[in-house]
């Protein structure tokens, strides 16, 4: 092929490259917000995995939690409400040498953006998608979200929610995600493990995080979850068993499971897209110079 695009040459050796840390921007969340634990877990996971900050792209949508990319020192794309996933997929296919992490809230991911999420999962694109699920719309000051429970009173449902909540974990299992986990902002160490393992996972890694909104959700609070969550790792759950994972995903009440529900090794979209076998698309040659024979098919 004709013109070649020269890959950028790193001026450091890999060992000297800076790892993702905090940026100069301080988080803008309310004091006590669950999202502080999520950004900390992503930072710690990336530090543990020693991935250079130049190779990390954090993509988000719109909502309180979607401000997250600004608070870390990696590359980032802060896009539109509900469109976290397609931007993240585009970044990944544009340069599959990058570590791409999608972040956002339950409104962004399970409301306006749920269509994209299902398709990304069935494609098994290698992404880590971390949702800060607070069961309410925060930035628009407290309306019902797709994960708000039946009966919950919000500004948009003053007499209580009258529709069933969407369960992100069951949805992920049904959609073909190959790594499905749930964390809790009240346990950063556990959450960091789930995120780090998700980043290392070969395929779509989904981590739904109970990340309480201290301002607009007075029901699903830190205390609510502290009293109820238990870890699948301590309950004899086999994460290779899809049926058992579905069973566990349906549990909601006095006991709510967190941890790794399911993990399976399958080829990723990038593995199966043969064009990408030649390396990251951004560094591949392009154009038609010297390929005039292509015109023969039009004769």
């Amino acid at each position: 092929m004709a013109e070649s695009v020269v890959a950028p040459i790193a001026s450091h050796s890999a060992t000297q490259l800076p790892i993702v840390g905090k940026s100069e921007v301080r988080p803008t969340w309310c004091p006590g917000c669950g999202d502080y634990s999520v950004v900390a877990s992503i930072e710690m996971a990336l530090k543990r995995l020693k991935i250079p900050s130049k190779d990390v792209v954090i993509v988000s949508g719109i909502g309180c939690s979607s401000n997250l990319p600004h608070f870390l020192s990696s590359y980032g794309f802060h896009g539109l409400h509900g469109r976290t996933i397609p931007v993240a997929e585009g970044v990944r296919w544009g340069n599959h040498g990058l570590t791409v992490i999608g972040t956002g809230g339950d409104g962004d991911g399970f409301g306006i953006g749920v269509g994209h999420l299902i398709h990304a999962m069935r494609r098994n694109v290698k992404l880590t998608y971390v949702t800060m699920d607070n069961q309410v719309y925060g930035l628009t000051t407290g309306q019902a979200s797709p994960t708000s429970r039946m009966g919950q009173k919000t500004k948009s449902t003053p007499t209580g929610v009258i529709e069933n909540p969407l369960d992100p974990v069951s949805l992920a299992l049904a959609s073909g995600a190959t790594y499905v986990a749930r964390g809790f902002s009240g346990d950063v160490k556990h959450l960091t493990d789930l995120v780090a393992n998700g980043i290392q996972h070969k395929g779509f890694a989904f981590v739904d995080v109970f990340s309480p909104c201290v301002t607009y959700n007075k029901v699903n609070t830190f205390d609510f979850f502290r009293q109820r969550v238990y870890k699948l790792e301590n309950a004899g759950h086999d994460p290779s068993d899809l049926g058992a994972a579905f069973q566990r995903s349906l549990e909601w009440g006095d006991k709510i499971p967190i941890g790794l529900f399911y993990s399976v090794d399958k080829p990723t979209y990038e593995d199966l897209e043969q064009v990408l076998a030649a390396g990251p698309l951004a560094y591949q040659p392009s154009g038609l110079k010297g390929r005039e024979k292509l015109l023969d098919e039009f004769v």
Partner: protein, 579 residues
């Protein structure tokens, strides 16, 4: 200038398009200029469809007004189309399919009954082979040498197994020989010229142009009439190293395209108006985050689902106003396949240099009609500069540096020391979000104003770099046609007809619809006398735009919104009213 046109009609599922394309391709291989129009409906089987193949010694720019040979696979075809046959024309039909008497058509029209079904039965019980017999008879009458039609059939069926090719060759030969025994070749038939020409649709030209311009990622959701862009690139994906992604919807298309572009890949997406409408929020983000992307809208007759397989230029206002707020964009509108190729190449160049979306607006007629192209008209030698121009580890890199041109240095993930956030919120030069805790504070108000002006400044540069309006024909003609997009073809043919009638006209056409340089446009209109604006929509959207940008009024308009392409005789008639 000698020309001959063949029309073939029948029901969807009869194979009308492949009959028509076989005839069109044969003419093109004879070195003739061809325009091939496939007219169909939004069903897979049933409904009336037809194909029109016009061939000429010189260049033809549209389907034309008449036909010389009508191959009718059903009676409805005769009823609908016999009236366009020129005196001396012939209807080819199979009396076993339907009866037709000389009194059913005008006295100047010949009938040629051909036993196509009977011929087909010699080879197979599959009645579809009747088409090969009909093609053979049509080819004879149209002056196509038998070896040319044989080669075209072999090339189109070559991949099929078993006896299919043999049967098609046999049945087409029988049809050809049968016609030969019944009478002479049509007097308007044109002898073979060399060399063979290329035959391509506007969509194929756009796909080719994208590949030549360095596109590495095409993401698209199926929607008529844009879909065949994806078909061509998907078929060549591995050979050309272009990732072709069929998305879940057009919201995904534009956002995936933006993501890949942000990662350092030249990207394109395409749809028709309905899909384009879904992309508008994403397009605004590309304008705000300053991510280059090329988006094709192959318009069809709207509003809403409208007429999915019919043509219209009704989407200009949609493209002009796409997205909330204001962001810089360019809108290019090719008028034929060669220009579709060239403007797609230009779209990639402009999108990249100005780091903003460039929109390519076509319509059904350009997207799907086939037109003859000379090999020399397609230039693959397109310079493709590296995207990686920013030195790594630039001190305090500013992705959105305020510059005179409005264009900032663009770095990509994977480059060390250039980490930044691209974003849909208003932001400062570093990509810092000014929409949350800073909005409304005096310093942030100043940033907002500065960044808005920086982005919109790109329009000034774009207006100088986009392809300017083109004047065709004698500069001092008493009537100037004003047109853009596919109607330009019919206008050109109308101008030739008017010339034969001794009436000189010229054409001012606009390959770029936006941004326009008002001074340039006004200077071009300074010399015109009467004008006739030809546009394929109800309200004259481009006339409104020209008036808004330049103050120029168009008292005479020919607006068409019936779903059908412009025909030269319609334009001639309207011009004669104005003259």
């Amino acid at each position: 200038m000698k020309e001959l046109a063949v029309r073939v009609g029948g029901q969807a599922g009869d194979g009308i398009a492949s009959i028509g394309e076989s005839i069109a391709r044969s003419f093109s291989r004879m070195g003739l200029h061809v325009f091939g129009l496939n007219a169909y409906q939004s069903v897979i089987r049933g409904g009336h469809v037809w194909y029109h193949a016009r061939a000429s010694e010189g260049k033809v720019h549209c389907q034309g007004d008449t036909a010389d040979i009508l191959y009718a696979l059903d009676r409805q075809t005769v009823d609908v189309h016999a009236s366009i046959l020129r005196p001396g024309g012939t209807v080819i039909f199979d009396p076993e399919k339907f009866p037709l008497a000389p009194t059913d058509v005008s006295s100047e029209i010949h009938l040629l009954p051909v036993p196509t079904l009977e011929i087909a039965r010699k080879y197979t019980s599959q009645s579809i082979l009747q088409n090969a017999a009909g093609i053979g008879a049509t080819a004879f009458l149209a002056g196509i040498p038998i070896d040319v039609i044989h080669q075209v059939l072999t090339d189109s069926f070559g991949r099929k197994a078993g006896d299919v090719v043999t049967w098609n060759i046999g049945a087409s030969t029988d049809g050809y020989r049968f016609a030969e025994t019944k009478g002479p070749i049509h007097p308007k038939a044109i002898a073979k010229k060399d060399p063979p020409k290329l035959l391509m649709t506007g969509n194929q030209a756009i796909a080719l142009g994208a590949a030549a311009a360095g596109c590495k990622f095409l993401v698209q959701y199926p929607m008529t009439p844009a879909t065949s862009i994806m078909h061509w690139l998907a078929a060549h994906s591995r050979a050309l190293g272009i990732v072709v992604k069929q998305s879940e919807d057009e919201l995904a298309s534009i956002n995936m395209a933006i993501g890949a572009s942000y990662a350092g890949v030249r990207t394109m997406t395409a749809s028709s108006g309905g899909g384009f409408a879904l992309m508008t929020e994403g397009l605004g983000m590309a304008g705000m985050a300053e991510v280059p992307v090329v988006v094709v809208d192959a318009a069809r007759a709207g509003p809403s689902t409208g007429l999915p397989t019919k043509t219209e230029q009704g989407d200009l206002n949609l493209l002009l106003g796409a997205g909330q707020g204001e962001w810089p964009r360019a809108i290019l509108a090719p008028s034929d396949p060669v220009e579709a190729y060239n403007l797609t190449v230009a779209a990639f160049d402009l999108a990249e240099r100005f780091q903003t979306p460039v929109l390519v607006l076509t319509d059904f007629h350009l997207a799907e009609a086939m037109e003859g192209v000379d090999r020399e008209e397609i230039n693959f030698n397109i310079p493709i500069p590296s995207l990686f121009t920013v030195e790594p580890d630039s001190h305090r890199y500013r992705r959105y540096l305020d510059t005179e041109s409005g264009v900032s240095p663009r770095a990509f993930p994977g480059q060390p020391g250039l980490n930044h956030i691209a974003l849909s919120d208003e932001h400062d030069e570093y990509g810092g979000d000014v929409s949350d805790i800073r909005a409304g504070i005096p310093a942030a108000i100043a940033v907002r104003k500065k960044m808005m002006e920086k982005r919109m400044r790109k329009l000034k540069g774009l207006a100088k770099e986009v392809p300017p309006p083109v004047l065709e024909g004698p500069p001092d003609a008493p009537l100037t046609f004003v047109a853009w997009g596919s109607p330009v073809g019919a206008v050109r043919d109308a101008m030739a007809i008017l010339q034969e009638k001794g009436k000189a006209t010229n054409l001012l056409r606009f390959p770029t619809l936006y941004p326009l340089d008002p001074d340039v446009v006004r200077s071009m209109f300074a010399r015109t006398r009467k004008t006739l604006l030809v546009e394929g929509n109800f309200s004259g959207q481009f006339a409104h735009l020209l008036r808004a940008e330049t103050g120029i009024e168009f008292p005479h308009k020919f607006l068409k919104y019936d779903g059908e392409p412009f025909y030269p005789h319609q334009i001639v008639a309207r011009a004669q009213e104005v003259l």
